[in-house]
């Protein structure tokens, strides 16, 4: 395996006034050229994880564990180093470009800002780069777009601008936090295709956050499944899709409408995830789990255990105390 671009190691983040950590010993890695999915329901901590990779933790958060980007400790880095990392090593494509791009500044300002302010490029050089970027993300008439304002672009075009902006510093690691959720369906596929192409062309390490497990399985090399701030399963996309092991993952796969074919197998995971105000002394999924067993599942937090011997921290693993007793319903979920 390649050297990791992103290494999150036992990251725990606690907010004041909450009963459980937002992130609980999250361990995750993204290698160069690898597309990694991070899947989970709303509130499971996906965005907090991605922001931690940028050194952006919620104010007042207590933390433990490490986050390394390109081998450099992000959480311990000083402001100057952190800015340099953000401007050149790692960047994020946010969910909603309408909210994420300043509405009163021009597209050109958005694209050139990190180049001019952090890299100290002059205006001409930065604008030339901006034009290249806009062409790379497939916007017509890039020179003209530089002078336009965000409200003059459609959502899909604006998300392309967001992606171009994320690529401005030629990062090696790209974090995409639900990059298509705010777009209409036809645009979603285009944006995903664009991200895939850019990732291949530039050999980017890409962390794709989504709550759509089928999408993750279709586009990623490996996938992490997150529940209530914990990683409950990790596997290659094929493994996860073919042989999901954690009851939550099994439920998720059952609850996602297939990209093709009739949505006959749609059955959402029953119940709602626990909030930050509810402690989880045992398995956080227990209240919703069909396999939950009193006396076992509510006693201690299940460890994320490798299912295959010799896995180097990237092989199939799941966090469930009854793993051996639960058959993987591969055939049932996947005809």
């Amino acid at each position: 395996m390649n050297a990791s671009l992103l290494e999150v190691d036992g990251l725990t983040v606690e907010l004041p006034g909450t009963a459980r950590p937002v992130l609980d010993a999250v361990t995750l890695r993204v290698a160069a050229g690898e597309v990694v999915g991070l899947v989970g329901e709303s509130g499971s901590g996906k965005s907090v994880t991605a922001r931690a990779a940028l050194g952006l933790l919620p104010p007042g958060a207590r933390r433990a564990g490490r986050v390394l980007v390109g081998g450099e400790d992000v959480l311990g880095a000083g402001q100057g180093r952190l800015r340099a990392l953000r401007a050149a090593e790692v960047s994020m494509v946010f969910q909603d470009p309408r909210a994420g791009i300043n509405p009163v500044r021009r597209i050109g300002d958005f694209l050139t800002e990190p180049l001019r302010l952090t890299r100290r490029w002059n205006r001409r050089r930065a604008e030339e780069r901006a034009v290249e970027l806009l062409a790379a993300v497939g916007l017509p008439e890039p020179e003209r777009q530089l002078r336009r304002y965000p409200h003059q672009l459609s959502g899909g075009m604006l998300q392309r601008v967001m992606i171009a902006g994320a690529l401005a510093g030629e990062p090696r690691l790209l974090l995409c936090d639900e990059p298509t959720t705010a777009l209409d369906v036809s645009t979603q596929a285009e944006i995903l295709a664009l991200l895939g192409r850019l990732q291949r062309e530039r050999g980017l390490g890409l962390l794709l956050i989504t709550h759509d497990v089928e999408l993750a399985a279709a586009t990623c090399d490996r996938v992490y499944v997150m529940y209530a701030g914990r990683i409950v399963e990790r596997a290659t996309a094929a493994e996860l899709f073919g042989r999901p092991r954690h009851p939550y993952t099994i439920g998720l796969l059952g609850s996602t409408p297939p990209l093709t074919g009739p949505p006959a197998r749609l059955r959402p995971v029953p119940g709602t995830p626990i909030g930050l105000d509810e402690a989880a002394p045992g398995c956080a999924f227990a209240v919703r789990c069909a396999f939950a067993q009193a006396g076992r599942c509510d006693q201690e937090v299940p460890a994320l255990l490798p299912l295959v011997d010799g896995a180097d921290g990237a092989g199939h693993a799941a966090a469930c105390v009854r793993l051996a007793e639960i058959p993987s319903p591969a055939e049932e979920v996947r005809p």
Binding site: L54, A87, D96, I101, E113, P114, T118, H151
Partner: protein, 319 residues
């Protein structure tokens, strides 16, 4: 629609507003109690023939609309009539007092902008700290203090007790005039400063919580640049709107402050001429005050699309 056309339309609207205002001003003064003719003959008891001749001389025998038309025609040619009180043309009376009021308003505007925006930004950036608490306290107190009360306190403490500033008159020469205008300007701006502080603080807090600010930080933009380019820049819309509204109405408020500090200016002139029923001057002053209000707000409207390009489209103006 082209920019020029949008601007033209806005200016035409302003002209119509001013025309309507002029009519209201002219007619309302004739509806007010007190007959200008009785003022003119004060101290004497004229014969009916004399009265009629005075009425004719000042045009009071003509129909109302015709009188308005003559007045408007003259006003448009820069002739506001003669002041009964000062035996001078109204233009000369106002002109001699305008500079000192403009100086007062200008100094107050600078105070409002610097202190109001500065304190508001400080409160927003130090949200929830003791500094923010102090800002909020000052806003509450400042907004509640009427300018005459501020004038009294400033005069007696900074002026009379400590002797730092003169307490009466306009002064002569630029430096002396500035010294004379400090206390009145503070008194005039206290309430407005508080309002601008509050608007600045809340607009900046609003922006600080926006995602585009987080995005900018996530891209390595230095914190100060984020505050300037994204937080303050985006908060500018509400700040400019409110400041424009306040500053444009400030000529009226000079009445209280100039009277309190015994200054000669537009405000004290207005008080005096209302007292003495000098209608021609009052008409011109009211027109001037309204015109200042309308013109400043037109300017703000015209500048606004530069501050927030989204507005231009909504207003059907600049594309």
């Amino acid at each position: 629609m082209s920019l020029a056309l949008a601007v033209l339309r806005r200016l035409a609207g302003t002209a119509v507003t001013l025309l309507v205002t002029s009519f209201l001003v002219y007619s309302s003064l004739y509806l007010a109690p007190g007959d200008p003719v009785s003022f003119l003959v004060r101290g004497r008891s004229p014969s009916p023939a004399e009265l009629a001749s005075i009425r004719r001389q000042f045009g009071f025998d003509q129909p109302f609309l015709l009188r308005y038309w003559h007045w408007l025609d003259a006003v448009l040619h820069g002739d506001f009539g003669r002041s009964y009180l000062f035996h001078q043309s109204v233009g000369a009376v106002i002109w001699s007092r305008l500079p000192s009021s403009l100086l007062l308003v200008a100094v107050a505007t600078v105070l409002i902008a610097v202190v109001g925006i500065g304190a508001g930004a400080l409160g927003a950036l130090r949200r929830g700290t003791r500094t923010d608490g102090a800002v909020l306290l000052l806003v509450t107190v400042g907004a509640a203090v009427p300018s005459f009360a501020a004038a009294i306190v400033l005069r007696s403490v900074l002026g009379v007790k400590l002797g730092w500033f003169p307490t009466i008159g306009n002064g002569s020469g630029l430096l002396d005039r500035l010294r004379h205008v400090v206390l009145p300007a503070i008194a005039l701006s206290v309430t407005f400063m508080a309002l601008v502080t509050r608007v600045t603080r809340s607009a900046m807090l609003d922006q600080l919580g926006r995602e585009h600010v987080e995005v900018a930080l996530s891209r390595g933009t230095p914190r100060f640049a984020v505050l300037r380019r994204h937080v303050f820049r985006n908060a500018l819309g509400p700040i400019v709107t409110v400041s424009g509204l306040l500053v444009s109405g400030m000529l009226v408020s000079t009445a209280i402050v100039e009277t309190a500090f015994g200054m000669s200016g537009i405000g004290s002139l207005l008080v005096q001429c209302v007292d003495e029923l000098d209608f021609q001057v009052v008409q011109a002053l009211v027109l001037l005050v309204v015109a200042a209000f309308v013109v400043v707000n037109t300017l703000v409207d015209l500048v606004y699309p530069l501050i927030d390009p989204r507005v231009a489209r909504r207003a059907g103006g600049v594309r």
